[in-house]
C-alpha cells in the first residue's frame, strides 16, 4: 500500500489550487518532517499567495512540533541533577 504522505505530496503539484490546499491540510495533519522540503517549495514557488501562506503555516506547525519533541527527549535523556536520597 502506498504511503499516504507520498500521495498528498504528489497532489501538491496538482494544477487545481483546491487540491493543493487540501493536500497541505492533510500533510499538516500527518505531521511528518519529511514533508518540509515539499512544503517549502510550495512556500517559495506556488503562484497562489493563499497557498504559499497555508504551506508556510503547515511547515511551521510541523517544524515546531519536531523541535518540541526533540527538546523533551533531550530533557528526559539528561541525568537528573538532584542528589540521590537513598
Amino acid at each position: 500500500m502506498r504511503d499516504p504522505l507520498e500521495i498528498w505530496l504528489g497532489r501538491l503539484r496538482d494544477p487545481d489550487a483546491a487540491v493543493r490546499r487540501q493536500a497541505i491540510r492533510q500533510i499538516e495533519l500527518i505531521g511528518d518532517p519529511r514533508a518540509l522540503g515539499a512544503l517549502a517549495q510550495c512556500f517559495a514557488l506556488d503562484p497562489d499567495l493563499e497557498i504559499r501562506k497555508l504551506a508556510q503555516n503547515a511547515g511551521k506547525t510541523i517544524y515546531q512540533a519536531v523541535e518540541r519533541r526533540l527538546a523533551n527527549e533531550r530533557r528526559h535523556a539528561s541525568p537528573n541533577p538532584s542528589p540521590d536520597h537513598s
Binding site: P33, L36, G37, A40, A44, K60, Y63
Partner: protein, 142 residues
C-alpha cells in the same frame, strides 16, 4: 532539527542547500541567520547565494516583526507595517521567480560540453552579516 538543517547547508549538492534555505525561510528560523549569511558570502554557486539572500530577507523581516510586537504594547502590527511586510514577501517571491529562471538557465549552460568552470565565491560588496549587525534600513528592501 536545527543542527541537522545547518549541516545540510554545507551539503555538496546545491539543490539540497537550496531546499534547506527554503525550509529555513518558511519556518522563519532566526537562529539560522548567521549560517545563512555565511552561505550568502561564501557559497560557490551564484543561485544558492541568491536564495540565501532571499531567505535572509524573509527571516530578518520576521525577526523585526517579532521584535516590534514584543517591544510595543500594541497586540499586533499596525496596518501600515502589515502592508509593508506583505509587500516585502510578495516582492521577494517575484524576485525568487526571477532567480529560479536564472538558475535554470545556468543549469542548462552547465550541461553543455564546453561549460565554463564554476564561479568563485561572491565578491559582492553587499555584506549581509554587517547589515544584519548594524540593523537593516527599510531602504535595503526597496
Amino acid at each position: 532539527m536545527l543542527p541537522e538543517l545547518l549541516e545540510r547547508l554545507k551539503h555538496p549538492d546545491q539543490w539540497v542547500r537550496i531546499e534547506t534555505l527554503r525550509i529555513l525561510a518558511m519556518v522563519e528560523e532566526v537562529r539560522a541567520l548567521n549560517a545563512i549569511a555565511q552561505v550568502y558570502r561564501t557559497d560557490p554557486e551564484p543561485g544558492v547565494r541568491q536564495v540565501a539572500h532571499w531567505a535572509g530577507r524573509i527571516i530578518y523581516a520576521a525577526k523585526r516583526s517579532a521584535q516590534t510586537s514584543v517591544t510595543t504594547s500594541a497586540p499586533a502590527l499596525t496596518e501600515r507595517q502589515e502592508a509593508f511586510l506583505h509587500s516585502l514577501i510578495e516582492k521577494d517571491h517575484r524576485t525568487y521567480d526571477l532567480m529560479q529562471l536564472s538558475l535554470q538557465r545556468e543549469q542548462l549552460r552547465e550541461t553543455r560540453p564546453s561549460a565554463p568552470p564554476a564561479l568563485p565565491p561572491s565578491q559582492a560588496p553587499l555584506d549581509l552579516m554587517r547589515l544584519l549587525d548594524e540593523g537593516l534600513s527599510e531602504d535595503f528592501f526597496s
